[in-house]
């Protein structure tokens, strides 16, 4: 067990280093943009004196490095400063929205991950059959269609023609959990359609790649039925690549859903980011980027750890 703890510790340390590097990139990229916050707040018509006074007030006359560490120290306590548009704390703007995004992502993931893996196992078992081909064509079609297009199709049928689910996924605090699930079903379904193909095909490919292994032939020659060969002998050795693809898709669910949020008017972090960029609300942009980066790193870390934990050679050292 000690070895695994050490491995995980190492990965975690590496993740922190990467996050630090990303924070540097995010901070200084924003610095490189023409115009600064003072300019943005005061507008084009501001006099140089006013600008200088504003900079002093906001601490912008300090060297960039000093401001970076100040920002980083704040970020560690989840204090990203104040929005320059509304003046409210950044966290109060994106905190709740990030939670909403997490909710939608989890909703989609809870549906998509089991479906993809079960489908992947079934198509691996029935490889080259009609079912395999149909599943491939359907999932490939859904992954190749732009997500807003899928979203509009779903709205057309599920809300306009059949009236089963609302097309507007606006949620508020007082809603019951069931109501939440009902209101956000269509955006979640859109996301499911987008991510299932990738995970299913990886599950199928990883399992089929193993079917040529001597231990699979051994299992067959022991009289093991085909489904058991796949589920018991192939799947346990196929987890590492599957977990990696799942993690990538989960990260996508959190960071890549701007279009879906916009179509369904869902109050997620993606929309907040778009708003902030168009209004040059730098503190909000920086905070959102850092949260996205942390999400990516955390999920990839989880995938690495998952791959390690499912490898018996590492789990049971000699």
């Amino acid at each position: 067990m000690g070895d695994i703890a050490k491995l995980i510790g190492k990965r975690l340390g590496l993740g922190l280093v990467i996050l630090l590097i990303i924070s540097i990139i995010i901070f200084f990229m924003v610095e490189l943009l023409p115009g600064d916050v003072a300019q943005a707040v005061l507008g084009q018509g501001a006099t140089p004196e006013n600008l200088a006074a504003m900079r002093k007030q906001m601490g912008l006359d300090q060297p960039a490095v000093v401001r970076y560490f100040g920002w980083l120290a704040g970020a560690l306590t989840l204090d990203f400063g104040n929005s320059i548009v509304t003046g409210k704390a950044v966290m109060s703007i994106i905190g709740e929205r990030f939670m909403n995004t997490l909710f939608l992502a989890s909703y989609a993931a809870v549906i998509a991950v089991p479906i993809s893996i079960i489908l992947g196992v079934i198509v691996a078992l029935l490889r080259n059959s009609i079912f395999d081909r149909v599943a491939n064509v359907v999932t490939l079609t859904s992954i190749s269609s732009p997500e807003f297009f899928l979203a509009y199709i779903l709205i057309l049928y599920f809300s306009i023609k059949w009236g089963m689910f609302p097309s507007n996924a606006k949620i508020s605090d007082g809603m019951s959990f069931a109501d939440l699930l009902w209101r956000t079903f269509l955006p979640a379904l859109t996301l499911v359609l987008v991510v299932v193909a990738h995970m299913m095909r990886m599950t199928r490919a990883s399992i089929i790649a193993l079917l040529a292994s001597p231990y699979i032939e051994m299992a067959r020659l022991k009289g093991t039925p085909p489904w058991k060969v796949i589920v018991k002998h192939a799947l346990p050795n196929a987890w590492a690549p599957i977990i990696n693809v799942v993690a990538l898709n989960l990260a996508y669910l959190i960071t890549g859903v701007v279009l879906v949020e916009v179509v369904f008017v869902y109050p997620g972090i993606g929309q907040a980011l778009v708003d902030a960029v168009s209004k040059r609300d730098f503190p909000v942009v920086q905070a959102s980027c850092l949260i996205f980066a942390a999400t990516y790193i955390l999920l990839n870390l989880a995938a690495d750890v998952g791959a390690i934990l499912t490898n018996p050679r590492l789990r049971h050292p000699k």
Binding site: P214, Y215, E217, A219, K222, G223, T224, N237, R313, H316
Partner: protein, 554 residues
């Protein structure tokens, strides 16, 4: 020996086709086979003879990309397998017909404990409850003399050594007490010392339960120990079949005779020239891979110009590491390598072109050491160009000359690619590539172990001829003592990174030996069908294999 009782397996006109290049081609071309209860039949032949395919076919199983043709008949205990449904066939597998694969390390599922894989079939067929099946597994482990029989099954495959795994797999095949076991080269991947244990174990258990077996191997001496009858195969067809003793004493067909005669080649032994400095001299070498344990421990030996030194030992004994030190791939931690009495630059990156050319390598697997996408002319031409600066017509002449040297017609092979060649031809290209540098010294790393015996013999003869013509020195890394006997002038025996014994070949094959050399020599199977029985009587069952090697090491 033969127990002529009722027929268990009757194969008639077995034809199996394989799919290649969008055509179905016959791999097995009408083989008949009759096996009685409790009888052991050896199937031998070179690679491509179709031994394993027949073995699988005896279970009614066609590997992916193959199919059993119409008109074939495989009758197991009165049941016709070729017309049976898949689930009827499956119900026999693991239950009444079991399979033991070549590489236990690859054939045990890394994700499950050994005992869980062992009990899978008995549980699936509801022959035993889990606890009973586990109890039974432990008893089988004990019978097969596995260490800690009550505990070893609860380990994962990678936690157990290769020889032990192979015995565990034999135990697994026994789990449902089948009527027939197919052994598919069960000891080919093992060291000779380990092989004995496995052979003894298989023979005991097959005798005890009166199980019939098909024993597939390319090693004649092994099959002589195991089988009641031997069937010789060539390219999917039967050559001949006879009881073991008769087959060994009096083979009828020319092909069989040629197989038997393989071990006849022996190059005359050369003696060290007096008063000369050795070409290569290893002096008290210690070596290790980064931060790992010491792989070589105070290793010293000399190789003289024009002579062959065979370095023998089990896997992990440090043979290949010694070669890496000489080539400069792994600079030693202590000690030095001398070339003609002068220090040889330790790291290959700092060696001059002339130093680099002196020492070339030929690898075990010609398949992976030749780039499949590069023409033969370029594979051989590159080193000629690099070391000798040849260009244009001079380069082409040199490549032709090299192809002549390795007995391949230049016009035919000049423009071909490695995948178009046979295993033996590829290995010849590997030799030509080494010769292109005009070396004085060549390291041959298990160059014949991936080849069939007849082909291997051709390679050995070629190497011997080249040595005489070009005055080459060889370091021959091998675990096959028959190869040592046929080509070596001197022998170095290594165990666990140390040289335990060295000397001229004739002395090494005469007692007295270091106990490890003795163990190694006595572990090499001989053609005599009573060899294993005699050896076990002489040494005792606990004094062979890993156990004996471990005793010597401490």
């Amino acid at each position: 020996m033969t127990k002529k009782k009722d027929v268990l397996l009757k194969i008639r006109n077995l034809r199996i086709e394989g799919y290649s290049n969008e055509h179905w081609v016959d791999i097995i071309k009408g083989v008949d086979l009759t096996l009685h209860r409790g009888e052991v039949m050896g199937l031998i032949g070179e690679s491509g003879a179709g031994k394993s395919t027949i073995g699988a076919g005896a279970m009614g199983y066609a590997r992916d990309g193959t199919r059993i043709s119409e008109g074939s008949s495989v009758e197991f205990d009165g049941m016709e397998l070729t017309t049976a449904t898949e689930s009827e066939r499956r119900a026999l597998r693991g239950n009444r017909i079991a399979y033991v694969a070549q590489s236990a390390a690859a054939s045990f599922n890394p994700a499950h404990k050994i005992i869980d894989q062992h009990t899978e079939a008995p549980l699936h067929y509801r022959l035993q409850k889990r606890m009973e099946a586990q109890e039974d597994a432990m008893q089988l482990y004990e019978k097969l003399r596995l260490p800690h029989p009550h505990e070893i099954g609860f380990r994962y495959p990678h936690q157990v050594s290769g020889g032990q795994l192979q015995r565990a797999m034999t135990a697994m095949a026994m789990s449902c007490r089948p009527d027939l076991i197919i052994f598919d080269e069960p000891t080919t991947a093992l060291d000779v010392t380990t092989q004995i244990e496995v052979l003894a174990a298989i023979r005991d258990i097959v005798d005890e339960y009166n199980t019939a077996a098909i024993y597939i191997t390319h090693d004649l001496a092994v099959v002589a120990q195991m089988a009641d009858t031997i069937k010789v195969l060539l390219k999917g067809e039967e050559v001949e079949e006879a009881p073991t003793e008769e087959m060994l004493d009096n083979p009828k067909e020319d092909y069989t005779k040629s197989l038997w005669a393989v071990r006849s080649f022996e190059s005359p032994q050369r003696q060290r020239p007096k008063g000369e400095v050795p070409l290569i001299s290893l002096q008290h070498i210690d070596a290790a891979y980064t931060a790992g344990p010491k792989i070589l421990d105070d290793v010293s030996f000399d190789i003289y110009a024009g002579m062959t030194v065979a370095v023998v030992g089990e896997s992990g004994s440090g043979k290949s590491t010694a070669a890496r030190v000489i080539t400069g791939l792994l600079p030693p931690q202590k000690g030095e390598v001398l070339f003609k009495g002068e220090p040889f630059t330790p790291d290959y990156r700092n060696r001059t072109k002339d130093e680099l050319r002196q020492c070339q390598m030929i690898y075990q697997s010609a398949d992976t050491s030749l780039n499949p996408k590069v023409r033969i002319s370029e594979i051989i031409g590159r080193p000629a160009q690099f070391y000798s600066g040849l260009k244009g017509a001079a380069l082409k002449n040199r490549v032709d000359e090299l192809l002549d040297l390795i007995e391949l017609e230049p016009a035919l092979y000049y423009n071909r690619y490695p995948p178009e060649l046979s295993g033996g031809q590829k290995q010849r290209i590997g030799i030509a590539r080494a010769l292109a540098a005009e070396p004085t010294f060549i390291i041959c790393d298990e160059v014949t172990s991936a080849l069939d015996q007849l082909v291997a013999e051709g390679i050995l003869r070629l190497l011997d001829r080249l040595q005489n013509e070009l005055n080459l020195a060889y370091m021959f890394i091998t675990h096959d003592l028959a190869t040592v006997r046929s080509i070596a002038d001197e022998v170095v025996v290594m165990q666990q990174g140390k040289v335990v014994e060295q000397g001229p070949k004739d002395e090494m094959f005469q007692p007295p030996h270091h106990p490890y050399t003795d163990l190694l020599l006595s572990s090499v199977p001989e053609m005599d069908p009573n060899w294993l029985t005699t050896l076990l009587e002489e040494r005792g069952v606990d004094n062979v294999g890993d156990a004996a090697a471990a005793k010597i090491a401490t």
